[in-house]
Amino acid sequence: MTRLAVPKTYKLYIGGKFPRSESGRVYEIRSHGGDFLANAAQASRKDARDAVVAARSALGSWAGATAYNRGQVLYRIAELLEGRRVQFIDEIVQTEGVTTAAASAQVDEAIDRWVWYAGWADKYVQVAGNANPVSGPYFNISVPEPTGVVAIIAPQSGGSLLGLVSAVAPALVAGNTVVVVANETMPLSAVSLGEVLATSDVPGGVVNILTGSPAEMAPWLASHADVNAIDLVGAGDLDWVHLQIDAAETLTRVLQPENGPDAASPSLARIVAFTETKTIWHTKGLI
């Protein structure tokens, strides 16, 4: 006689905790074949608001951590993900209906992406910043700094784990904190990634994961005055032009949707997109 399995409750990940949606709503997650898999929390605008508050309060210490430390913390995610490969492969096979080989390739790529971005944490400043030879007795240097709270609409097609990681990891490198709306129909690996993050060294609030309807939450995030940048990478099927218009109200930085398998492909540009260049002048006087 087979043992009766214990199914997992898929919840949100906000401020390092796993709350249900304040709205009490859930929605059904079905396998590629149509079987019921789970009830995921359907986050509301208030959950999004709470996530922004959590991200804002986590910003100071994450942005203020040393670059070396942030690199190690991001690398630690890769280590933990590696240890949970099987779980992620399982979830991907179930939700995406791909082969085990394809699922494991996706998980591997997601792990490698964390590793790649982890390595940038203490380097991107050197590449994207510079000393400026101004004509005068001044020390002058330009350095990129994190933009702040970044809202992300994760890719809604392609690999559900890889898409999420590809969008979230670069924003974290510089020290931004993130509120991400996961793949709506395939959110299981996103919630599991939250569990990885919770047991990793990533401080609570640095990454906040919302499951539910991007169409419902995106307008609230785009127009939120305390969101500094919004990555619409996965918003291609939404009325994203309107989201960009909403974001203009407080000059929120916007990355437009990307489609196809190369959406959010790894690049230094993605790190720099969520930074602000600060230029510091200081007088130089010998006497």
Partner: protein, 339 residues
């Protein structure tokens, strides 16, 4: 005057220093006080000086400025080769800067080595100010000028000789070595002692100008601290340089010293003079100093008792500019006299 300025005004120099320092003028107390004064950012100071240097002084203002500059000059000869003849010639120039123009003002003082004071006094004759508000002063450099490297006794004798010989003003040098090694108390005591040596038989005092030799102090912060130190010790004037080393007076250094006398007035209500010396050779440069004085401490400082130029060749350049303004064409060196 504010009430705190009034309180200050009732104190003598020593009492005032005691009150400000919160104790005797020891190295430690002076150090604490001088290092408590806000610092100077060199770049900002130099920018401000350069900015003041861009003032455009034309027509009537220029005419006024040129005459004013002449009246503020300490016409100086400080050479090892100085002789009675050279000093008499200098005095002649001081009395009659431009023989072609009787309206030309006279300089404020002649500045010579101490041993030549009697010659200068004699040559000036009835034009010697000798404590009056009119006439030309005789200033003597003293205290083992320019290095200041002699015993205090020698320095005081140097001062005493000059005062006895009729010097109206003493230009002393501070001990830069003592200052740079932090022996602020020694510098202070020496200035106090020199000031006392300026006392004449009748109880009056020769005016004391304290030369900081800013080129050797090197930093603006040092200049500012030395300025405060000299004023605390009772100097009537603070003077940039001996003229014997470069850099001598610069506009930023002078500006920083003017800021000190401005602050001293705010603190105590008392006015202290400033004398840039050495390196100011053209009217154009001198006008920049006049502008800097007027815009930093106010026009009231543009008077011989509060501002002087220590210079020799400056006078003739001013005279040529003056002639140009009168005649409308450029003058030449053969149309001004050499001393």
């Amino acid at each position: 005057m504010t009430s705190s300025q009034l309180a200050m005004a009732q104190l003598n120099t020593g009492e005032r220093a005691l009150a400000l320092l919160g104790g005797e003028a020891t190295d430690a107390n002076l150090r604490r006080y001088l290092h408590g004064i806000p610092g100077i950012d060199a770049v900002g100071l130099e920018q401000r000086a350069a900015d003041l240097g861009t003032r455009s002084v034309k027509t009537s203002s220029k005419k006024w400025a040129l005459d004013k500059i002449i009246s503020l000059i300490d016409l100086t000869t400080l050479e090892g080769a100085d002789t009675p003849g050279k000093v008499r010639s200098l005095v002649g120039k001081a009395l009659t800067p431009d023989p072609g123009d009787p309206a030309c003002p006279r300089v404020a003082a002649v500045c010579v080595y101490g041993d030549l004071v009697p010659i200068a006094v004699q040559a000036l004759g009835s034009s010697h100010a000798a404590g009056t508000a009119t006439g030309i002063n005789v200033a003597a450099v003293a205290t083992a000028f320019p290095s200041g490297r002699a015993s205090l006794a020698v320095k005081l004798a140097d001062v005493g000789d000059a005062v006895t010989a009729g010097a109206d003003e003493i230009d002393m040098v501070i001990d830069r070595g003592a200052f740079l090694s932090g022996r602020f108390g020694q510098v202070y005591d020496e200035i106090v002692a020199v000031k006392e040596a300026c006392k004449r038989a009748d109880g009056s005092y020769a005016h004391l100008k304290v030369i900081l030799e800013t080129g050797e102090l090197n930093t603006y912060d040092n200049v500012r601290r030395a300025s405060w130190l000299a004023i605390l010790a009772g100097g009537d004037f603070i003077k940039t340089s001996t003229g014997k080393m470069a850099p001598a007076a610069t506009l930023p250094v002078t500006l920083s010293m003017l800021e000190v006398v401005r602050d001293w007035k705010r603190l105590t209500g008392a006015r202290v003079g400033v004398k840039p010396a050495g390196g100011i050779r053209t009217s154009k440069d001198a006008i920049k100093y006049i502008v800097t004085v007027a815009e930093t401490v106010g026009e009231e400082w543009l008077t011989p008792s509060l501002f002087r130029f220590g210079a020799s060749s400056l006078l003739n350049d001013v005279l040529m500019q003056r002639q140009k303004m009168t005649t409308g064409h450029y003058s030449g060196p053969d149309y001004v006299t050499i001393d």
